[in-house]
């Protein structure tokens, strides 16, 4: 096989503060025709940046400072921008991005966007173009593809948009497709379909693929070779199976450990048989604004949901986005009013509990580490606020307690006077946890606490939660879409779909013998990379 792409010693630097910050160094990869390569690394490892350099989409402050890119025996450095966009970008090399919601232009129809891409690179009639557009929409298995040409992006779901994105990328039959975390923003069940689709299309079209992801599990499914990046450098490369089986670099080993650790058994809390939370038939609906001559439409976010949570138990609520799992959590926390039903915490109606008492019983931890902390306050202030609001304590007592809690979540004293923007995502999440546990609540509601974090950080935060759970004997309601996290962490699982509970039971039972059709689909969509899987070769 001949070389399709050869990148030698690529170096990308950021112009900042009068000095060059090297973000990618010594990046060399070699890609054959029809080969698929996975690039794995955490955010900030330079995996996306190096591919943006290849497609000349680097942000303004960044520039390629050295290195050569040879594509199909042509040195791309010698091409000027105009020729590059005309001949290479979008024609020979296409790229799919992470966020399907923003990657399509909302004011143009799907058809127009497809045609634009096709006609720019091919000198053919509009009819031919439409023919080709329909052909490619069919190829990406867009349901009812014939009607889609006149539709606008907002009329499609996230998965469908990503299919259109793939169609856009493939309409010119590229020889190389770069997929930058194409499934991260999608629901798990859709994720698997999209990855399957990309992998199928690669074989039928016969193109090479570079698949960027933070998820080793996904990469192991789709790529022949894998490159592991850390801090802008390649730390390991080789055949996917070999790397997974026998990682040479400690970092790769660490990544794998993080994945495998989720399989291990963990310490369980003492669970009492008495329920701490009783949820009885709660419902929440939203009215859409009324149209003329039409009754206002009512959408149920949560429909007659009932369950109990026992003292010390960890219960997980899983489901895709829009299934109502976050709404349930907020209702239990008293942050949203429900329409019907009853939520009892320790035998008391949630509405009857004083807000300051409620704060001492139940606390939330949120998903996004960037919006969970108020950027204008110091960490000390943020963590001490629950105390100053709810308890009368002297300033020095409060400070002492805050520092104690910060230590407990693994942050040293010096973070007291820092601001959130000086912390990494994982550290912010630790602060958010500190704020939640400083009042010593008995219940913690964790709404996807780790899904915005990198794999290694994710496992650290899970460890922390696990640790706190046994130390403080907290009951946890965990909301997640990540089955491996749920499996590692929870005693019982509740599966929600369209606002209703469709399955509930012991973690192992639900994962191994799912009864409901949707649960089955959900469980099979997990790319679990197990120790046993690799042992074949």
């Amino acid at each position: 096989m001949s070389d399709l792409l050869n990148i030698q010693n690529l170096e990308i630097s950021f112009q900042s503060n009068n000095k060059n910050l090297k973000t990618v160094e010594n990046f060399s990869i070699n890609l054959n025709e029809k080969e698929s390569l996975g690039i794995v690394g955490e955010s900030g490892s330079g995996k996306t940046l190096s591919m943006l350099a290849l497609t000349r989409l680097l942000p303004k402050q960044a520039s390629v400072s050295s290195g050569s890119i040879i594509f199909q025996n042509r040195n791309l450095d010698e091409l000027d921008n105009k020729n590059f966009y005309k001949e290479i970008s979008g024609k020979k090399i296409s790229m799919i991005f992470q966020e399907p919601m923003t990657a399509l232009n909302p004011v143009h129809t799907i058809g127009k966007q497809l045609l634009e891409t096709y006609l720019y690179h091919n000198n053919v009639s509009v009819e031919k173009g439409i023919e080709r557009a329909l052909e490619i929409l069919d190829a990406v298995k867009l349901p009812k593809y014939k009607q889609r040409m006149d539709q606008y992006p907002h009329q499609l779901s996230g998965g469908q948009r990503q299919r259109v994105m793939i169609a856009l990328a493939l309409i010119n039959n590229p020889s190389l497709l770069i997929a930058d975390e194409p499934t991260t923003a999608l629901d798990v069940t859709v994720q698997k379909e999209i990855i399957q689709l990309i992998s199928d299309l690669r074989e039928t079209i016969g193109m090479a693929l570079i698949f960027i992801s933070h998820d080793l599990g996904v990469v192991s499914q789709i790529s022949d070779n894998v490159v592991v990046m850390k801090n802008g450098e390649i730390v390991e490369k080789g055949k996917t199976l070999k790397v997974l089986e026998k990682p040479n670099h400690p970092y790769t080993q660490g990544l794998l450990d993080c994945l495998f650790k989720l399989e291990d058994e963990q310490k369980k809390n003492q669970i009492k048989d008495t329920p701490i939370i009783k949820v009885k038939e709660i419902s929440k609906s939203y009215k859409l604004p009324a149209k003329i001559f039409k009754k206002p439409e009512i959408i149920y976010a949560v429909k007659k949901v009932s369950f109990d949570v026992n003292f010390g138990e960890t219960i997980a609520i899983v489901g895709e986005s829009g299934s109502g799992k976050s709404t349930v959590a907020k209702i239990i926390n008293g942050l949203i009013n429900k329409d019907e039903g009853k939520v009892e915490i320790k035998g008391q109606n949630i509405e009857d509990i004083e807000i300051s008492d409620r704060a001492k019983i139940i606390q939330p931890v949120f998903q996004d580490p960037y919006s969970t902390l108020n950027p204008i306050h110091t960490i000390g202030y943020i963590v001490s606020r629950p105390l100053t609001i709810n308890e009368n304590k002297s300033e020095s007592e409060v400070k002492e307690e805050v520092i104690k809690i910060l230590r407990l979540v693994g942050l040293s004293e010096e973070y007291y006077n820092r601001f959130p923007n000086q912390l990494s995502g994982g550290q912010r999440q630790r602060v958010a946890i500190a704020r939640a546990i400083i009042l010593k609540p008995q219940i913690l509601i964790c709404d996807e606490p780790t899904s915005a974090l990198d794999v290694t950080i994710q496992s650290q935060i899970l460890d922390l939660l696990n640790d706190l759970k046994t130390k403080l004997n907290i009951t946890i309601i965990l909301i997640s879409h990540d089955i491996s996290v749920v499996k590692y962490f929870s005693d019982r699982i509740i599966v929600m779909y369209n606002g209703e509970i469709i399955e509930m039971g012991n973690t192992n039972n639900v994962i191994n013998i799912p009864k409901d059709k949707y649960t089955k689909r959900l469980m099979s969509s997990v790319f679990s990379l197990k120790k046993n899987d690799i042992k074949f070769t």
Partner: protein, 309 residues
């Protein structure tokens, strides 16, 4: 360059090399010391402030003292001008330089005073509308529509005419007719912020609505409000000039720039400096404030591309 070394002396921490260790304040200082327009506008404004405060003390000539024997003397660079009267004299033989100097005080007082009044009204209404939503939002939006439908200057003229002109009245009238921008900006900012996780977290730890508004919401809208504030200062200064020019603002003999222009308009062909000089003063002040406002917008916008050099 001088500006930068000065700022560096004042805030040495902001120029430590590690961006990671900077507080939000440090970042703003660092960004502002690299923004040309902001530096120029701010420097000019500081100079104008110094003039307004210390000018009349150093240049000890009364702006009210008339000397009818020395009417309409030309400024020093014109034929017949003397260094005794740098900007010449006006129709009543008053020293024009002293009058413009005093006018600076009036313009600044009214500009900043009126913008403050407008900010208090607008931000209060906007934050309430954004945070509480529902009928509060509808009432406020209705008020906004009314305010936008009224011709501001005409309204201000009527009110000043009815109450009687004085500096305080002019400040409050201009302020009371200029809160629409504040309202719109703080309302939309509040709507965005109230859905963020840290507000939900504050509710969960038992913070009251008032605490949330004061501690979490208003400080985070501040960066946007300050931009509107500077723009409104410029607008208020121009408004005061218009009102005074039309005779319903500051009353003679108080030397407001708008009034100076009004008084000079009869002599526009023969003594044009009577209009040109206060005009230049007005122009310089408003441009400096607007440049600073533009700069502030760039600096406080987290996505701005002000180089962190």
């Amino acid at each position: 360059m001088i500006f930068k070394t000065f700022i560096k002396r004042l805030f040495p921490r902001s120029f430590d090399n590690e961006i990671y260790n900077l507080t939000p304040k440090d970042l703003i200082i660092r960004k502002s010391s690299n923004h040309g327009g902001f530096k120029f506008g701010l420097s000019l404004l500081i100079i104008i402030f110094l003039f307004a405060i210390f000018g009349p003390i150093i240049f000890d000539v009364s702006p009210y003292e008339q000397d009818l024997t020395k009417r309409l003397l030309p400024p020093v660079w014109k034929e017949g001008g003397t260094w005794e009267y740098i900007f010449g004299t006006d129709g009543n033989g008053r020293d024009y330089f002293a009058r413009i100097l005093y006018g600076t005080r009036i313009s600044l007082t009214i500009g900043f005073g009126a913008a403050c009044v407008g900010m208090i009204i607008g931000v209060t209404l906007g934050v309430c509308a954004g945070y509480f939503g529902g009928w509060v939002d509808q009432v406020v939006s209705y008020l906004l529509t009314c305010q936008l439908a009224l011709p501001g200057l005409l309204l201000a003229m009527t009110i000043v005419f009815l109450i009687g002109p004085s500096i305080t009245v002019v400040i409050f009238v201009i302020g009371a007719t200029h809160w629409a921008f504040f309202l719109v900006v703080s309302r939309s900012a509040t709507q965005k912020i109230k859905n963020l996780d840290y507000v939900t977290a504050a509710r969960a730890i038992g913070a009251s609505k008032f605490q949330i508004i004061i501690r979490d919401i208003i400080p985070n809208t501040f960066s946007q409000i300050i931009v509107i504030f500077t723009l409104e200062v410029g607008i208020a200064i121009l408004n005061e000039a218009s009102l005074s020019f039309l005779g319903v603002g500051i009353q003679p003999p108080t030397p407001s720039w708008g009034l100076l222009i009004a008084e000079g308009k009869e002599a526009i062909f023969f003594q044009p400096w009577l209009i040109i000089l206060p005009g230049i003063a007005l122009f310089t002040l408003v441009v400096s404030i607007n440049m600073m406002g533009d700069g502030l917008r760039d600096i406080t916008d987290p996505n701005s591309k002000v180089s962190e050099e």
